[in-house]
């Protein structure tokens, strides 16, 4: 009798309050790396408290997880089982709680755009067809990154430098310094793109030094007035265009 009661208590515990432990484990090992431990985003966009780019129904979420997002860094989790997918989606919903998508970005994107132009962001970055390819393309940056990540990138650009945007300075035999974004590198050679958007290519034993910059080549914008910063963020957050398809272009297989 006691045994029966105990067993039915166990069964009840297993069924009744939704247990998110499984979903949490799946989320932490597969998703948190980009979307953050609490789903507030990181390198990847926030999954809670905002409108999702690729649809917000459970079915949309499942489709994106299984199929990935072509042309972005979101991979396809093809081997995930349907029940794992269910538990994962349930956990993402659970993390979201009652967060409202409306409270996304405070600030004036139109004014932010003027600030973008005034601070000459386009001398390094590109939106659509305009600007420079020296720094990361910002055409869909609002969809790809969380607001907190973008804020950090403006105030402390060295906090997280993507491998494909690491800075290198080559000191030539004549003592000339050439700084640029590392496009490719191996034991014997290094290829850069400099601020004038030109490729610069070197054989290591022909130069006197190859220095890997610990800091981002992007300046910090901590001196912007808080209101300007907020507006600039609002503008960046509004950038959700599509980068022209036509195939997946990688700078170099070496950089990963």
């Amino acid at each position: 009798m006691i045994a029966v009661l105990f067993l039915s208590a166990l069964a009840a515990a297993a069924q009744s309050p939704p247990d998110f432990a499984d979903g949490r484990a799946i989320y932490r090992s597969n998703c948190a790396f980009c979307h953050g431990l609490t789903g507030r985003g990181g390198r990847g966009p926030a999954l809670v408290g905002r409108t999702l780019m690729h649809g917000s129904t459970d079915e949309d979420l499942r489709a994106v997880i299984r199929g990935g997002v072509p042309g972005t860094t979101m991979p396809a989790f093809e081997t995930m089982e349907p029940d794992e997918l269910d538990r994962l989606v349930a956990f993402i919903r659970h993390m979201g709680g009652s967060a409202s998508p409306a409270a996304e970005i405070a600030g004036d994107p139109a004014r932010g755009r003027q600030i973008y132009q005034r601070t000459e962001c386009a001398s390094c970055h590109r939106v659509g067809d305009r600007g420079s390819v020296y720094g990361p393309d910002l055409t869909r940056i609002g969809a790809a990154r969380s607001l907190e990540y973008l804020r950090e990138s403006l105030l402390a650009p060295s906090a997280d430098i993507l491998q494909e945007y690491e800075g290198v300075t080559v000191v030539t035999g004549e003592g000339k310094q050439v700084t640029g974004i590392r496009v490719n590198e191996d034991n014997f050679t290094v290829q850069l793109r400099d601020a004038s958007q030109q490729f610069r290519m070197f054989v290591k034993n022909e130069v006197s030094q190859v220095k890997h910059e610990a800091k981002s080549l992007m300046p910090a914008y901590g001196s912007l007035p808080p209101a300007d910063l907020q507006d600039l963020l609002a503008y960046l957050g509004s950038l959700r265009g599509s980068i022209k398809a036509g195939g997946d272009v990688r700078k170099a297989d070496g950089i990963r």
Partner: protein, 533 residues
């Protein structure tokens, strides 16, 4: 008279194919012009007494020919060369024979897959015995091919093929009259084994289960029925000592890889060296490098047999640079642990105890939150071959410096699905790099090293020309001075390198061959240059 002459001709013709006898395999190092086994010979030292290309002229080495297989997928083969003919396998159950001097094709074999069967996965090469070549297929067969024609002599199913479970990649090892193969599938919830097949008939002679069943010796090292899906693949070729009549084989990881909660215990014989009787498949002794592994640090790497003066007396040794970042020296007659020293950065063990068992540091298990640990899952080294030069007494080793974050959660076993127990991610706070290291195998100390920009997946070759050839992850095939480590020559092959170079000689000319991409690249000194040496 005419009839007698005809009979003589017939007898000659029948004797024509190169007979690679067992005796030739035992004495393979006495024919440096050939490359007769996956590792070059039974001891796996990957050193050749060829010195036409040497430290003084290697700068003139240039590509002599290139053969395009047209086969996509990682090209991990190590070719065999016998009397001027090169035999090699490619991915997808394909194989080729070439004129080793010119690269011109002699035959091309394609395994017949049953309809609907996936033809992927890598293959590491052939074994040769008599006038037959032996390879495994991705869908778990051993096939024997005629050296002369590439025609199928026999085909034996290792296990019934089921997608997402067992598969096969190993280069078989010919020992006496048997063909030894190990199985793959350590991430698929399988139970590993090593098989021996009769070279003449294809009949299975014995099977050694790398994971003992409940009730068998070692079975007590597995919780419950976890042994049934315990892993322990045997996907890299072993080595063999004819005098001791002992086969040495490295065993892979336990499964699920990253979650150990359901398989408490040491999990024998995963991550171990097993010493087997090649006639019966019976276990002589074992040594486990990483008990109860939860980081996929299998022990399949090269088991090199060295006869060295160990602390004042000659001793028969087996050495291994293990994926877990320690370099081990064991007595290969008894399995006694003699030495273990880290050769790469490792953050998981305080050291090894007197018996060679690791003293594991706390908080090194994979966890739901992720645990940062070095080396990464791919290990401090892997299938890429080390080599040993008896003249320098140095062991040349490709080293991977790369750390991972290991995640863990209890997996559910579903047949045909990966059985990992969660995932791993490369760390983002530092870049990986690699090294070519020259170790003193008697002390484990580094004599020289050369830094690679990235962690390598290609191995090494040592020659009597005082050279070490090695490949890197960016696609350079390089030659180094074996004594000083100075880089003397390089060639950019245009694709990452995932195999190990070989050398051979035809008509008095020395060649070096390396697979890259879908091509086989062969190098030599310019024609006529050797006459001037």
């Amino acid at each position: 008279m005419r009839r007698a002459r005809f009979a003589l001709l017939l007898a000659l013709a029948a004797a024509l194919p190169a007979q690679v006898s067992y005796e030739r395999l035992v004495n393979a190092r006495r024919e440096p012009q050939n490359w007769l086994t996956y590792w070059g010979d039974y001891t796996a030292i990957r050193h050749r007494d060829l010195s036409q290309v040497h430290t003084g002229n290697v700068k003139d080495l240039r590509m002599d020919w290139m053969f395009q297989t047209g086969v996509p997928g990682a090209f991990q083969t190590v070719p065999l060369v016998v009397n001027g003919i090169m035999y090699f396998t490619a991915a997808g159950g394909q194989a080729f024979a070439l004129d080793a001097r010119t690269g011109r094709q002699l035959w091309h074999y394609k395994h017949a897959f049953p309809p609907g069967r996936r033809a992927g996965s890598v293959n590491r090469g052939f074994a040769i015995l008599g006038d037959r070549l032996f390879m495994v297929t991705p869908d778990c067969n051993v096939v024997a091919l005629e050296t002369l024609t590439g025609r199928l002599a026999w085909q034996t199913e290792i296990v019934p093929y089921k997608k997402g479970t067992y598969y096969a990649t190993v280069a078989p090892l010919a020992v006496k009259d048997k063909i030894i193969v190990g199985i793959s599938g350590g991430e698929e919830g399988t139970r590993g084994f090593i098989d021996a097949y009769n070279a003449a008939t294809g009949e299975r002679a014995w099977r050694f289960w790398t994971v003992p069943a409940k009730g068998e010796p070692g079975g007590e090292t597995w919780l419950g029925d976890s042994w049934m899906r315990g892993g322990g693949p045997a996907w890299l070729t072993g080595s063999f000592d004819p005098a001791l009549n002992t086969l040495y084989w490295g065993i892979g990881n336990p499964g699920p890889d990253l979650y150990g909660g359901d398989r408490l215990g040491d999990n024998l014989y995963t991550d171990s060296l097993v010493a087997l009787d090649p006639d019966s498949g019976k276990l002589k002794w074992h040594f486990q490098f990483t008990p109860h592994d939860t980081h996929d640090w299998d022990a399949c790497q090269t088991l090199m047999l060295l006869d060295l003066n160990w602390q004042g007396r000659p001793r028969k040794l087996v050495v291994q640079a293990n994926r877990n970042a320690f370099f081990y020296v064991l007595d290969r007659e008894t399995g006694e642990f003699l030495m273990g020293k880290p050769f790469a950065r490792q953050t998981w063990a305080k050291g090894l105890d007197a018996k060679g068992r690791p003293i594991v540091l706390p908080n090194t298990e994979p966890s739901p939150e992720g645990t940062r640990l070095c080396p990464g899952l791919a290990g401090a080294t892997n299938w890429m071959a080390p080599s040993y030069n008896p003249q320098t007494g140095l062991f040349y080793l490709p080293v991977r410096e790369q750390c991972d974050i290991y995640y863990s959660s209890p997996p559910k076993y579903i047949e045909g699905k990966p059985y990992w127990g969660s995932v791993f991610r490369g760390v983002t706070d530092e870049k990986e790099w690699g090294l070519l290291k020259a170790l003193d195998p008697l002390t484990g100390e580094t004599r020289w090293d050369f830094r690679y920009h990235r962690a390598p997946w290609a191995g090494t070759l040592s020659t009597a020309g005082g050279l070490v050839f090695a490949g890197d992850e960016d696609g350079y095939l390089m030659a180094f001075d074996a004594r000083s480590g100075k880089d003397l020559w390089k060639f950019y092959t245009g694709n990452r390198l995932v195999s190990s170079p070989i050398t051979y000689e035809v008509n008095g000319r020395q060649y070096i061959t390396m697979p890259s991409g879908a091509a086989l690249l062969t190098f030599a000194l310019p024609e006529g240059a050797q006459a001037r040496q």
